[in-house]
């Protein structure tokens, strides 16, 4: 029995369909991340699980029970909101107790749960303060605490880190990961930040254009993107796409300038056109290889990113060592790791080399 | 049996239902029956005959009514600009958190707590040319008294002065609250750019509170079109009708002449004017500010 089972869910706002026939399951204790660009419907999906949006058609089950017709409070879920949504006029303690009081939990039980959550999150010191007196990070912990005390079957996080500054975000991310190990509950995280998704999730659900694009472990998503969208969305800097012609069973790709690569990809179907997908780490500056002109150099310390243009005008991003001496305008040669290349057909579908 | 959704919506409606009931019962229904009444020749003490649009025809050829319409527009023109500008100046002067500012905020708001009967009582004594406060002051400088209430060319101005004095508290408060919303860093940026206070005012402060300015203007228009108590209690609309606004006309026709069908017709015209003017302003400002 899966912890969460979403079956053929569709949602439209008036004439605009935002989610079309979505199905998804999550196992108990699994950490799932909904990843996608803003406006892709990932938040809507989360809110449908929470009961904050209605389901037009399809069903949602939690722990085997159908919940899409239940009130939000009856679904056994807890949510951490993007802007925390703490009740400003209540103390932190009252904030955390509010939901429990509403379902008539006993006073001693409430105190016990709040005490425990406060200890875990190290917020005991300001239980009697009001949210307005707290910093952003502290509010974040309280928001999580308010979810924890409810002992939900599923935790829902709506972009919980987007309001924090970079340093705090990193720390909170770590804490979230630790918390996750401690709580042993199913968690769903909505994010547009791939790092967050990659570092926290067991599985990532990439959503775009009303549909789930791919469901997989972080490494599957990165290494074997199901389609051109996933390939381009995940990974930073994004994957290079080069128009190629393809021939042979073990596909041989040819660039417009005639350079030929032998990939490790087999069993390709027919397609009108092909694109070669190359992550920048697989395009390296070298003495030989495809020649290109450097347009911009981004020095990151441990490595250097080279934004260059091939002779036919195609933009390409390559990697060089941290101490690269290249400058704008330099002519370089790029060596390409064809074994790591991906191919995408005219419909954007991805084909990858069999991995060992 | 209602569906769950219908039940929820019915429950939702219950929140607005009490007000909607009172609104429909005490405002819409009287307005509607007033519209109906305007088609009758009707007496305050019963008896009505249907006359169609005759009352409206009568109004459009009634010089007293037309004069009242003119007076009302004149009053709004005299009164709304100062009520938009003076409170703004006060708010700009008082937009600081010192004790002095708090004291003066209280001073300028104090007139707003008085009722119209008292405001008129006070101002009649202030402006009356014989022994009034202003006349006493003018006398000190050897100046003749000003006929505030007896010169048809001045009387509406006098009404406007009284009204501005009485009503400037609320707009001032609205402006103050708007000014407090303007982020301080904009001012700091402007100061760094060596912006002069005038530039700061016109390029930064005013644009930041433009929505409040619009709100104040529309609110004051709606309010001041309903001018009634001041002339009713001071001049009874004189001299020669120069201070009779539409509402006073309605009141006289309805309660003094008991011609309530005719009064109802005039009420509808006033309602239409207020509606058109406010809607017009709203649309105009919306277009200009690009639906901010």
């Amino acid at each position: 029995m899966s912890a969460l089972d979403i079956r053929n869910v569709t949602k439209a706002y008036g004439p605009t369909t935002v989610l079309d026939d979505i199905s998804l399951t999550a196992e108990s204790n699994e950490f799932i991340a909904f990843l996608g660009p803003s406006g892709c419907g990932k938040t809507t999906l989360l809110r449908m699980i929470a009961g904050l949006e209605t389901v037009d058609s399809g069903q949602i089950h939690i722990g085997g029970q159908r919940i899409d017709e239940l009130a939000p409070g009856e679904r056994g879920v807890a949510m951490v909101f993007q802007h925390y949504a703490l009740y400003p006029h209540m103390t932190i303690r009252e904030n955390m107790a509010f939901g429990l009081k509403n379902i008539k939990t006993s006073k001693t039980e409430i105190d016990a749960r709040i005490g425990e959550a406060a200890r875990i999150l190290e917020i005991e010191a300001f239980l009697d303060k009001k949210p307005g007196q707290l910093s952003g990070g502290q509010k974040q912990r309280v928001a999580i605490g308010r979810a924890i005390v409810k002992k939900p079957d599923i935790f829902l996080f709506d972009e919980p880190l987007s309001n924090l500054d970079a340093a705090l975000r990193m720390r909170t991310r770590l804490e979230l990961a630790q918390l996750r190990r401690r709580l042993k509950a199913t968690m769903i995280l909505v994010t547009h930040d791939q790092v967050e998704a990659m570092t926290l999730a067991d599985r990532i659900v990439v959503i775009h254009g009303r549909k789930i694009q791919q469901v997989g472990t972080p490494m599957e998503i990165y290494g074997r993107p199901a389609n051109r969208f996933v390939a381009s969305f995940v990974g930073s800097p994004p994957m290079n796409f080069l128009p190629v012609t393809v021939s042979g069973a073990k596909a041989v790709a040819t660039l417009s300038d005639g350079t030929v690569f032998a990939t490790a990809i087999t069993n390709l179907p027919e397609s009108r056109s092909w694109e070669l997908g190359l992550r920048p780490e697989h395009v390296r500056v070298n003495d030989t290889g495809v020649s290109a002109k450097v347009e911009f150099v981004e020095r990151l310390g441990e490595r250097t990113l080279i934004y260059a243009r091939l002779s036919d005008g195609t933009a390409i991003t390559a990697e060089d060592v941290g101490l690269s001496r290249l400058n704008m305008g330099d002519e370089v040669h790029l060596s390409i790791d064809a074994q790591a290349a991906h191919l995408f057909d005219a419909d954007g579908r991805g084909y990858h080399a069999e991995t060992a | 049996m209602l569906s769950a959704k219908a039940k929820t919506q019915l429950g939702n409606f219950l929140f607005v239902a009490p007000y909607m009931f009172v609104f429909a019962w005490l405002l819409v229904w009287p307005l509607m029956s007033g519209m109906g009444l305007s088609l009758f020749k009707a007496d305050l003490f019963g008896g009505a005959t249907f006359v169609g649009l005759e009352n409206y025809g009568r109004l459009l050829s009634d010089p007293v009514f037309l004069q009242a319409v003119g007076n009302t527009f004149l009053f709004v023109l005299l009164c709304v600009p100062p009520l938009a500008i003076i409170p703004l100046i006060l708010a700009l002067l008082l937009n600081r958190s010192t004790r002095v500012a708090a004291f003066f905020r209280g001073v300028f708001f104090s007139s707003s707590v008085l009722s119209v009967t008292i405001v008129t009582l006070i101002w009649r004594m202030v402006l009356i040319p014989d022994g009034g406060f202003v006349a006493n002051i003018l006398a000190v400088f050897g100046l003749p008294p000003i006929p505030f209430f007896s010169d048809p060319g001045i009387v509406m101005g006098s009404m406007a002065i009284i009204t501005v004095w009485w009503c400037l508290g609320l707009p001032m408060m609205l402006y103050l609250s708007a000014l407090q919303q303007v982020p301080q860093d904009i001012y700091e940026a402007a100061a760094l750019d060596n912006s002069r206070w005038w530039t700061t005012l016109t390029r930064i402060t005013l644009p930041s509170i433009s929505r409040t300015v619009v709100l104040v203007v529309i609110m004051q228009c709606v309010l001041q079109f309903q001018l009634f108590g001041q002339p009713q209690l001071i001049t009874q609309g004189g001299p020669n009708g120069a201070s009779r606004p539409i509402v006073l006309f309605i009141f006289e026709v309805g309660f003094r002449r008991w011609d309530i069908g005719y009064a109802a017709a005039a009420s509808q015209i006033l309602f239409a004017i207020i509606l058109l003017v406010t809607l017009g302003q709203y649309l105009l400002t919306r277009k200009r500010t690009g639906d901010a």
Binding site: M79 | G34, A102, R105, F109, G229
Partner: protein, 278 residues
């Protein structure tokens, strides 16, 4: 250096202009108070000596001797308080409904309420008077209290204010198993306190100062409100000696509300300033 000197001069200028404007603002009020403390006989001859003694309390004694005045004070307080409570309750409920809940014709209904802002009181007063006569509501407290409850301004203000509260709070409360009413009552309503204060103050002021409706609805002396009652005791033509007494009436009728205002001034100003937009 020259910059800070400029600053200082500007401060002085602001202060001086405030004092001048403030004097213009309050001088009619002060003058009225002074006149109310003058004997009628003296005012008969001249009003020019309002700022010089002697002063007397005889006009206040005369008002206090009026048997009806405390009854009227009580009536005004009762009517204004209940009307204010009524407006706060109705406007808050409706404001929450319009801002947050879904039901058929919601936007159309709200638009109609907005149109209501343009309905002049005098346009409905006659038909409403007839309606209340049929219902035998004249000379009753409901008859005095009810009309004020229909004013759309409160609904408009509260709707705007509820809309400004982040919707996440409602949603958090929903997930906390709170009912619609509980969300309204426990979560959102406490956050609208500044708006409640503003609306409350303005409703109370308007109700306390209302003249025309009480004049034609409460026509029995024991149902008069303070404004109507005091106006009724105005001694007319034969009495030339009434100026000080008139001014005393003005002061007396505004005194309760001025006292309330002075006590709560700080809070009122803050509430009003905090409410309009947030």
């Amino acid at each position: 250096m020259s910059h800070s000197r400029n600053q200082k001069w500007r401060e002085v200028g602001v202060l001086i202009s405030l004092i001048v404007l403030g004097l213009i603002m309050v001088s009619p009020l002060i003058w009225t108070v002074m006149l109310s403390l003058k004997s009628n006989g003296e005012l008969l001859r001249s009003t020019a000596n309002a700022f010089n003694p002697p002063y007397t309390g005889e006009n206040y004694a005369a008002i206090m001797a009026n048997s009806g005045v405390f009854r009227w004070l009580l009536n005004s307080a009762f009517v204004s308080t209940l009307q204010t409570l009524g407006v706060l309750i109705l406007s808050s409920l409706a404001g929450y409904g319009f801002a947050r809940l879904e039901f058929p014709f919601r936007n159309q209904l709200f638009l109609i309420v907005l149109f209501g802002l343009a309905i002049p009181e005098q346009a409905v007063i006659i038909t409403r008077h007839q309606m209340f006569a049929d219902l035998h509501l004249h000379n009753t407290y409901p008859g005095l209290i009810l009309p004020g409850l229909a004013a759309p301004f409160g609904v408009f203000l509260m709707t705007q204010y509820f809309k400004a509260i982040p919707k996440e709070l409602d949603e958090a409360a929903m997930l906390d198993s709170a009912s619609r009413f509980k969300i309204f009552w426990k979560v959102l309503l406490p956050l609208t306190l500044p708006a409640q204060a503003t609306l409350g103050i303005f409703t109370f002021l308007a109700s306390w100062n209302d003249y025309w409706w009480p004049l034609i609805s409460a026509t029995r002396a024991d149902m008069f409100t303070l404004t109507v009652g005091i106006a009724s005791s105005q001694i007319n033509f034969a009495q030339t000696s009434g100026l000080g007494y008139l001014m005393t009436q003005a002061v007396f009728a505004s005194l309760p509300i001025l006292i309330v205002y002075i006590i709560f001034q700080k809070y009122i100003v803050r509430a009003v300033a905090g409410a309009a937009v947030r």
